[in-house]
Symmetry: C2
């Protein structure tokens, strides 16, 4: 069983990494890019029986800084 | 129109960030975690008419280091 966790900066929080990528794409001649946000993706290989609640607890306690970041959990 | 790009280290490439997260989860008492891989997710806000081929070109030239990283593009 696997889980994929996306951790993104919340809207309104400045994202310097995303801004840097945006500027670089502009400088390289890529047109039509209106905005870029960069975040983390964490793929967890889990023992069977691990629940989504367990993964949410991992996010709250370690994987995301919930003051400035939001996360989504996807089991597959 | 938006695109989400996942950039992950290829299998076989050592992932120290993922290892650090794995050890931290173990130390915090989370059981049943067999493996952790950490990557990047880049959300692009694109002008209408941008094609998947354009996004693939951005990945090849800037967003991913294709020697050690693989990427997937998802338009939505």
């Amino acid at each position: 069983m696997k889980a994929r966790v996306h951790v993104m900066l919340k809207n309104g929080v400045l994202d310097p990494q995303g801004e840097a990528v945006h500027h670089a794409l502009d400088a390289m001649g890529f047109e039509g890019v209106n905005g870029v946000r960069q975040g983390k993706v964490i793929e967890l290989d889990l023992a069977d029986g691990t629940t989504e609640a367990d993964v949410n607890a991992m996010c709250e306690k370690l994987l995301a800084n919930t003051v400035i970041e939001s996360y989504t959990v996807e089991l597959y």
